[in-house]
Amino acid sequence: MSETTLNVRASGFSFDKGPAAVTAILFVIVAVLIAQAVDIHQAVLYSLGGLLGIALYHASFGFTGGWRRFSVEKRGRAMRAQLLMIGVAAAAFIPLLAIGAPLGSPIVGAVAPVGVSVLVGAFMFGLGMQLGGGCGSGTLFTVGGGSARMLLTLAFFIIGAVIGTAHLPMWLELPSLPAMSLGTEFGIWGGLGVTFAGLALIALITVWVEKRAHGSIEAAPAAPRAGFARLLHGPWPMVGTGVLLAGLNVATLLTAGHPWSITFGFGLWGAKIAQGIGIPVETWEFWNWAGPAKALSNSVLADNTSVMNFGIVIGAALAASLAGKFAPKVKVPFASLLAAAIGGILMGYGARLAFGCNIGAFFSGIASGSVHGWLWFVAAFAGSWIGIALRPVFGMDGFKKS
């Protein structure tokens, strides 16, 4: 045991004491600073982000790996956990959105038009996440976990998001159906019924594919530890974490007034950096629309998505320290770095075109009853398939293990 490693004998695990203490203190300090600098509302959102980061890291709840595992190994356990998560969130979202202002303040769902921009953007995102090695949430929690490669993916994700804001108005000129919400179209029960039926159908397809390939459904692996030790150290169960993430998304909806989203913050960060180096993004059409203009002219700490993203990164760093896995890998081959950069650009650009990433469009979109979330899933899955096929070009595992 190293000097910086604390052995918790009673629980049977060890963790990086130094990084854990630093990140825990940092997490609290940032919360206090946000409360002081802006208000308690933003600090609460930041804390929700922190919990999301811890949960994502401890369960390794990534969409990229889950989709790849299903595509390559025909194992659908992770995908079914994602579908369950969306279903649980939808059970709360659709009725709450129908109420309109359940706690007094108005809430809105992640409902967007169903058009060419979503189709193309989601395809690009799916492809990019296989090259980049993480989706919107995955990029954040792995950066928090100390991955240098994902830091590069994030940097290019931000660049791609800013470029996307420059081009989005042009993409929106292409054919599109209006925003459609299943809850509005079919009523609460109808919307829930259609959403659950769609999710169940996909889950059944994963079961069918898995049974056909392996003869049976994969059981969840036995946990190496239990109780408090597992809570702190992980790994957390995928299904339980999915339900927790759904609950945290509902809490986000009620607190922020809109569901959990990630990539708007990336575009905003990029636009502010671009402004700082003299690029007049404020003259771009996107940044003159009311919402983006307001976000651009305000402090980044006043942006809900940004403070939640900060929380996810620091929360994941805390979880990684507790798991004793902070920064497991340092050296990354150049080809892999190139894939990270290309993947990041594709994800950033694609998420902007598709009105969100795997969180804002897929998770929050379908849970809100938005039809665009379903189109996003189909297009992103197709893109993911192509991305997996391209991974060997960059020296990574594809459909055949290298």
Partner: protein, 163 residues
Amino acid sequence: MSEKNTILFGAVFLAVSGTVAFDHFNHTNAPANPPAISNPANKPSAGGNPCAGNPCGSNPCAANPCAGYNPCAAAPCGANPCAASPCSANPCAASPCGAYNPCGAGNPCAASPCGAGYAPAPCAPVNPRSDYMNPCAATNPCAAVNPCGAYNPCGAGSPCAAN
């Protein structure tokens, strides 16, 4: 954690912290009533102009797509988004919301994006054209508790009304 990674992540953390702090104070320390126009070419001519010194800088209409009357239209407020706003005559005439058009036919906003019958769907969070993200939210200048309520440069009695 390797020494290399400690340095890398430490540097990133410091850079991000510094940038966020700079951005925050750069915005929160801005004067309450910033100059109307940052471009001197657009500076208002003195006197006669009821907009001078007020509405165009921190103008609540600046982001208000619902301003039925743009006080700054032919005035010195070239930088004011209301000036070129397709909403200046009618917020629903040629909505800047394009594909999302909350003012479109069949839309609950058709009568008025600020009307009581408004349904939030077209103003979803993912809608980058909404007022972060809801043009009908309380923060929207069109809402009941909007900045135009207290000081509506577009309303009767406003110094701009006679412009």
